[in-house]
Amino acid sequence: MTLSVGELRLTLFQDKTELLIRHRYEISEEGAQPPKHGAKEEEVRVPGRFAELEVRPALPDRPVVVQVEIPYRLDPGNETSIFVRVPLWLQLFEQGSQKPLVDLPTVVLSGTWFGRFTEGELSYWISSSARTEIEPDPARPYLAITRAVLRNTSRDPLRVDTLCLRTAFLALYDDGEQLWSEVLEISYKGVAYFSQVRKVARSSQPHGKGKLTAAARETSRRSVTAKSFALRGELPGLGFRFR
């Protein structure tokens, strides 16, 4: 059996003693050139016979970094919302089990570094921009939409440019045509402080609609304190910035 989700091609073989799970990545557009990367096929062998398998979506296992279409200023005391299309992971479970047999991205994402040269977090780079308005896209079910509410609780203006969204502790909702994550609230406290990141247990869908369809990867936390805002060019390729 073969599943095609996004760029992921997953093939399952069940024989008498084991389940063979093969996967590779391909650019899915018609007439696409041979894949430029990720074309190597990998396989996982799971001993046992499985009568039923369950496929569940999940948000990325690392933070995602995204840039707004046009950077703008958020004054102290104000708040704004942005929407981001986040590629989903595909998890395969044995029926009734809580531990996935495989946990694979549906799209090959580039890695990026969010933080400083001396410390930070390895994150995924999202090439599409964060927007203030968004339309559902049922044609690409492997992308969920995350709404982030940005609040400036400091005394200084905030330049909204590059954001780091911690999606691992957001659950997913399904409104029938689009997957939406829980809402993320990020409170900016000033240059010298980390931001307060909190999740709100409701769907990012504008009317809050949707049925809870997948739990968060991390369920032990509802909030974190972490650097969430950065400027374009804050980490130049040369390795230093002129002051």
């Binding site: 994402l109 890695g111 930070g120 780079w125």
Partner: protein
């Protein structure tokens, strides 16, 4: 000396058997107990604070515990500790003069630990030695090289010389020199190199990849592709990106030249004079 001999005779009498048993118990039980406590502390502190702190704490506990057992045993045997300490002071002075280098290494070791320029498991380069730090001890630092050699570097050497900690920071920049033929379009080459960088999953998007024109060489236009990776992926990225550059250049018809040498005899417009030596010339030479 005679006091010492008298003390020993006193110890070995039958009525002092209880004392001997106590001493034996202190040694037989105390030493393993101190070792076990030291090992447990090291395991606990490795989990909580890291390998470096765990090593220091466990060794401190071990040395203190063994010293305590030693003094207790000596006190049980009837040795006067004040006399011993007095003698130790004199011996210490003599040893100190004789072991200035060792003392210097110990002091240097304390400074190294306080500075924390590197820790256990870091990869460092000292002189021409590169390897993983196994331990930071009182007199020296032990390093395992990547070809599995054991190197002992005195602490004094480390304090006096330049030490490079390769794994201190989480990301590293990789520089790949690329030379292309003079006939190539440098702008096009730059675009292709940046495309290769962006497509490699090990190459970080930020800090952004960069191409710098480093100079006009004798045989090629020299560029440097600068890309960033996590320290764990540094070597993997180096391999994958260099292979991709070669394949892509071959596919795009971009020439990576080998060194050329052009000969000019006088004026550039004159052909190079060549004299053919035939059979007559050879016979004449003979």
């Amino acid at each position: 000396m005679s006091v010492l001999v008298d003390n020993l005779r006193h110890v070995l009498r039958a009525e002092n058997l209880a004392t001997l048993v106590r001493v034996a118990v202190w040694i037989a039980v105390g030493i393993p107990a101190v070792s076990a406590v030291s090992r447990s502390l090291r395991r606990y502190m490795t989990r909580k604070y890291g390998a470096q702190q765990a090593l220091i704490a466990s060794r401190a506990v071990l040395y203190l515990g063994l010293s305590f057992i030693l003094f207790t045993v000596l006190a049980e045997l009837g040795f006067k500790l004040s006399t011993l300490l007095g003698a130790a002071g004199i011996v210490g002075m003599a040893v100190g003069f004789a072991s200035q280098t060792s003392v210097s290494n110990i002091i240097s070791g304390l400074f190294l630990m306080a500075e924390r320029a590197f820790e256990v498991d870091d990869v460092i380069t000292v002189g021409d030695i590169t390897g993983q730090v196994l331990s930071v001890d009182m007199l020296s630092v032990k390093i395992r090289t990547f070809d599995n050699k054991f190197v002992r570097v005195p602490n004094e050497n480390l304090i006096k010389s330049e030490v490079t900690n390769i794994t201190r920071f989480p990301i590293r920049r990789l520089e790949i020199p690329v030379g292309v033929a003079y006939k190539e379009d440098v702008g096009r080459v730059r675009d292709i190199l940046l495309e290769i960088a962006h497509e490699d999953p090990l190459c970080l998007n930020e800090p952004e990849p960069l191409v710098v024109l480093s100079g006009f060489g004798s045989s090629s236009v020299d560029l440097v592709l600068m890309v960033w990776a996590t320290k764990e992926n540094y070597l993997n990225l180096k391999n994958s990106i260099m292979e991709t550059v070669k394949k892509r250049f071959d596919a795009e018809g971009i020439e990576i030249p080998f060194p050329h040498l052009s000969l000019y005899a006088g004026s550039a417009t004159e052909p190079l004079p060549i004299r053919v030596v035939g059979a007559e010339g050879l016979r004449a030479a003979q």
